[in-house]
Symmetry: C2
């Protein structure tokens, strides 16, 4: 049975995205949808869906339609998030709300969510009701996670548990759901579907923690600005871990530095990172990521498929979380 | 086979809405959804779905789940429309964006759309794929209609054909889809499903024209403000009909009156209504409504069911369009 590589799946998926039929009219409803989908990102959710499908089945074309559904869904969330976050740039270009205004962004986002369901509906499977149910569950969870994240902005204290629950909903649910849908579509057993769901949830958690870490400690390789979360005063895992270990005096610094007018951005970032370092925060988060990553990979050992079939899925996890097993 | 009356269906539906299980947390995601659904409106879409179902089947409980889906979908559109229209009042209470802000309105609207799909998914039917397809089609059409309506605001001239196409998408598609879903669920033939779709589309068109007419010529019975469309300079069927029959001088008055600072609201309304009357607009629109209404009722004669089973559906149409056949 043919095993597709990560890069082969990406090429295949990009080809289908490029050939996607999106209506021309009304222009301001559909142009933002095309715009959002054409510049890719990493396509991590559709690739994951195709990888879990390919564990059990090789007619990969069948997985493309639901893979489109999860990718379109993800881009819908970005579109509406950009309104809520007042974000003017997305993937190096003006965001949809910056380019066309909030009203067009709201409505084209809605149409994009409906388009995701159109692809879901076209999925050829006797298990469509289960796939549909899984999709609805994860879609609702993503909204719940986004709401908890917005709630955190005005909350005095966020615990590690609350934070992990939030990213489980906002980030991990969509990966977990994508992995399970691929397995469901391929006819995998309930046992394997559940294990792949759990695997992807853990990978999603590790991915988000890694993302938090890179925002402050990244190597700036991709031109991404370092320290954005610090300047926004965002309650990331770094901030929450730091807060839980800080003295009263250090807590004051953690809470107020981003608001200070007398410091430059550089000074704010170095103040907070100095505290993170002193409190051993990056090491602590690295350890959490490593632990979650190992837990995720161990789940793959429970699958009913031969170990050599999981090779691409393991590579995918390594790439996503930026480490070697 | 039991035939449910319009009012029996409304009571049944309200009972299910009242008993609906909506999660408590996150509060700001789900409270606006409850708020939007609890004050009813006329529930015209779910009632229609149940009426077409009841033409062929009497276990009405089975139709409630998809009826909830179309009602939740409709309320989702109102929630996002209130952001786009900057509307502060809905059904006599503060709108969701006025009460909680735009960000909460965007996200809870998204969650509401997903909730509609959750109900759709729970519909117990072998025909779920067809019902799902129909739902997606109508949902996309409603967004298209809303976009065309927004496009009209900045367009110099809108033809009657363009206007009818816009309301077919924005208003009639959801009624047509609801009617077809009820029939599909009940196992009606393709022929009957198509006829009920067409019937409801015509009724939807007549309903929207009637709504336009009442906005300027209503009897103010329900405390609804008369003349809102005129004061907004909205391109309704009245304005479009008037424009198509007006002299150059009258056109100038039609286009500019709502912008004049030297006139009171009362004076603006009476100026425009004076022109409408002089141009025979209300009579012309009345005729269009009557024609569409007769066309709709005639479609019911093509159904495979006995004429006496359509009695409640005919009453529904009469109530909706405010006339007797």
């Amino acid at each position: 049975m043919k095993l597709y590589t990560n890069s082969a799946l990406l090429s295949l998926f990009e080809q289908h995205i490029a050939e996607m039929a999106i209506p021309e009219e009304p222009h301001y409803l559909y142009a933002p949808i095309k715009y959002g989908l054409e510049v890719g990102g990493k396509r991590i959710r559709p690739i994951l869906l195709m990888l879990t499908y390919n564990l059990y089945a090789e007619d990969i074309e069948r997985a493309i339609v639901p893979a489109m559904a999860v990718e379109i869904f993800h881009n819908f969330t970005l579109l509406h998030d950009d309104i809520m976050d007042n974000a003017s740039v997305r993937r190096g270009r003006p965001s949809v709300p910056a380019k066309w205004g909030n009203n067009i962004a709201i409505l084209s986002g809605d149409a994009m969510l409906i388009l995701a369901y159109k692809y879901l509906q076209r999925t050829s499977s006797e298990r469509l009701p289960q796939i549909f149910e899984q999709f609805n569950k994860m879609a609702a969870e993503v909204c719940e996670g986004q709401q908890f994240d917005m709630d955190f902005e005005t909350k005095d204290k966020v615990s590690v548990e609350e934070y992990m629950r939030m990213i489980e909903l906002k980030t991990a649910a969509l990966l977990a759901g994508s992995a399970e849908i691929g397995a469901l579509l391929a006819g995998a057993s309930d046992h394997d579907c559940q294990n792949l769901y759990n695997f992807a949830r853990e990978i999603g958690l590790a991915f988000q923690l890694q993302d938090d870490l890179l925002d402050s400690y990244g190597d700036n390789q991709l031109g991404k600005k370092i320290g954005g979360d610090i300047l926004e005063g965002k309650k990331t895992i770094l901030m929450i871990e730091a807060f839980s270990r800080a003295t009263a005096e250090q807590r004051e610094v953690l809470c107020t530095t981003h608001l200070r007018k007398d410091l430059s951005d550089e000074e704010k970032i170095s103040t907070i990172k100095g505290l993170y370092d002193a409190l051993g925060v990056p090491e602590r988060v690295e350890q959490q990521i490593a632990k979650i990553f190992e837990k995720a990979l161990a789940i793959l050992d429970n699958l009913s498929v031969a170990a050599d079939r999981t090779v691409e899925l393991r590579k995918y996890a390594e790439n996503l979380v930026g480490r070697k097993s």
